[in-house]
Amino acid sequence: MAVIATKDTRLVVQGITGREGTFHALRNRDYGTNVVAGVTPGRAGQDVEGIPVFDSVADAVDKTGANTSLVIVPPRFAAEAILEAAAAGIEQIVCITEGIPAHDMLEVYHYVRPRGIRLLGPNCPGALSPGIANIGIIPAQVFKPGPVGLVSRSGTLTYQIGGELAAMGLGNSTIIGIGGDPVIGTSFIDALDLFQADPETEFIVMVGEIGGNDEEQAADVIAERITKPVVSYIAGFEAPVGKTMGHAGAIISGTSGTALAKKEALEAKGVQVGINPTEAAQFVFDRIGKG
């Protein structure tokens, strides 16, 4: 079953004729994702190695029944691209683009959220269900199918933990990269709810980082309604106050948002928190053992 990236996914790639768009559309298709269309305004009638290109998402939905969109367009056009997909009736939108102005994302968020449209990202690596489908830029070769649902704010850190789990013989139901921007469509809480409802996910790993209070809020939700075991790792224990660590959201201001505060909030709700990716993976292994 898995979540977000499933066998029912019919993917349209917005920005398919761009260098990155072409590369990842084909890579996702090679993995087994059902890539049904691409969109680049003014390029209708062309195709990218057999994937038909349309002028608009509305056309792509109309002609191919696309239900999920992958947005790989430059930051100045990305907010508009998400809104276009939402207006065209797309149910799930995965936005990889990094560098979208935060105020633009406020507008986007408050348009898609009340309409029940799933937005993953922006500035995220996408979603991968090993053996089923890959939407985005996650290097699939690192992961294998299994019972662990993995959700992370950071791309490469996800790969790191997935790699550690794989080395211990553990696989994943779905890997969800939610992104590191101040405004993201899918929160930790949303991902936890998805995994809770997914029969193939037996175990959840949540990878957070400094900044904001999403991990603290997730801790409350875990105590309240997540019955599957959760292990966590938080990056940024050594980060200095007031300096942004790469992600726009990864900044400690005042006393809130530190890795230690997040670790303590999670531990108070019974979640084991590793101090590095290796320790977090070891906690998972200890809890469920091989296979």
Partner: protein, 382 residues
């Protein structure tokens, strides 16, 4: 991007918010001239991108140009929370009746702008929030609705603003929200927002942060960036489109992806080392970019060993290996380098490094082993 007070006030003035007349000064003589030009009582203010200026002696009220020069002499070079004062703002003195506080922040948790207003201005708002929470009025603005007159009325009522002051205060809040929305700000804070003796309001301070991602549509704000306030390495990194944050240890760190690099900083510290920096080369880094990144890390003289931690997704490990080997050919690499490569094309990357047989390079298999080795090598060099 954080703005200096005088820059924030430029945005305020353009939006119609009243601010005191002022001049920027970089020297004692310029401060004296500014005070002469403004006439009467002036305030000499340190321009640094941090709070707590008043407590640190960075703000002085003076009666004449000679005293302004004296104050400038004392404040120029003053270190405030690690920020050295290189510029001053000389402002006309004002007749203060009351000091309030108003801000608009980007509340990422609620995903809405948050308005805050209190009559307890002039002090640290975090103290107000902690010790007098009932005095701090807070109100979210639905971005789809934008700021409306009722927001201001509700907020002023919650904050207990006297009715007779509300007519003068309401438009200023609307204008400051306009700065927040129109200039892509993440923060607009006025502390104190001053009620003058004549019954009008004036922004006596300005703390404004603009979203870096939106600077492309605000060229005049982008042009305000003070390059001299940025560390040399941070400046070089910005030009090369690399995310670099200077720390104060001796183990140089570079990797791909903010989360992984943050995690690398953690494991180096956990292994008993002191990280010298955070450097994220980003996704899909080319060999050339890797070489530039290494040069930036090594330009920090404190660095005694370097840890490369790469988990390739879009980034290809063979490209990283090539970049590293190129860097060894073209630059003087004075510190040992520990490399950990995993992910896309990792086998090829490690093969290239092993075949090159460079004595400076140690290849490790895991992140923890690599951190331990880098820390050990830095210790031996020290």
């Amino acid at each position: 991007m954080d703005l200096y007070e005088h820059q924030g006030k430029e945005l305020f003035a353009a939006a119609g918010v009243a601010v005191a007349n002022g001049r920027v000064a970089y020297t004692v003589e310029e401060a004296r001239a500014a005070a002469t030009e403004l006439g009467g009582t002036v305030v000499v203010k340190s321009q640094v991108l941090t709070g707590g200026r008043g407590k640190a002696g960075g703000v002085k009220v003076v009666k004449d140009p000679a005293a302004a020069a004296e104050a400038a002499e004392a404040i120029l070079g003053l270190d405030i929370n690690g920020h050295v004062t290189h510029r001053l703002y000389i402002e006309q003195g004002i007749a203060i009746a009351k000091e309030y506080y108003f801000s608009v922040t980007f509340d990422r948790s609620a995903k809405m702008p948050l308005l805050m207003l209190t009559t307890m201005g002039g002090m640290d708002v975090e103290d107000v929030a902690k010790n007098h929470p009932a005095m701090l009025a807070r109100l979210h603005v639905d971005p789809a609705l934008g700021y409306r007159g009722f927001h201001g009325q509700q907020l002023m009522s919650m904050a207990g603003i006297p009715v007779e002051e509300r007519k003068a205060l309401a438009p200023i809040m609307a204008q400051l929200y306009g700065v927040f929305a129109d200039d892509d700000a993440m923060l607009v804070e006025v502390n104190p927002l001053v009620l003058l003796e004549d019954g009008s309001f004036l922004a006596a301070d300005a703390k404004v942060t603009i979203d870096d991602n939106a600077l492309y549509r605000h060229p005049t704000v982008e042009a305000m960036r003070d390059l001299s306030a940025v560390d040399a390495q941070e400046q070089a990194a910005r030009e090369a489109d690399l995310a670099y944050v200077k720390l104060d240890g001796d183990v140089g760190i570079l990797g791909n992806g903010a989360g992984l690099v943050m995690s690398t900083v953690d494991v180096v510290a956990q292994a008993g080392g002191r990280p010298a920096n955070f450097l994220d080369v980003g996704g899909g880094a080319s060999a050339e970019k890797i070489a530039t990144a290494l040069a930036i890390v090594l330009s920090d003289e404190k660095v005694k060993s370097v840890l490369f931690n790469i988990f390739g997704g879009i980034t290809r490990c063979d490209e990283v290996a090539k970049g590293l080997l190129e860097a060894l050919e073209t630059t003087d690499v004075r510190a040992p380098i520990v490399v950990r490569l995993d992910g896309t094309n990792d086998v090829e990357g490690r093969r290239l490094l092993n075949e090159a047989q460079r004595p400076e390079i140690t290849v490790e298999n895991t992140m923890l082993e690599a951190a331990a080795t880098a820390v050990r090598l830095a210790g031996e060099a020290g």
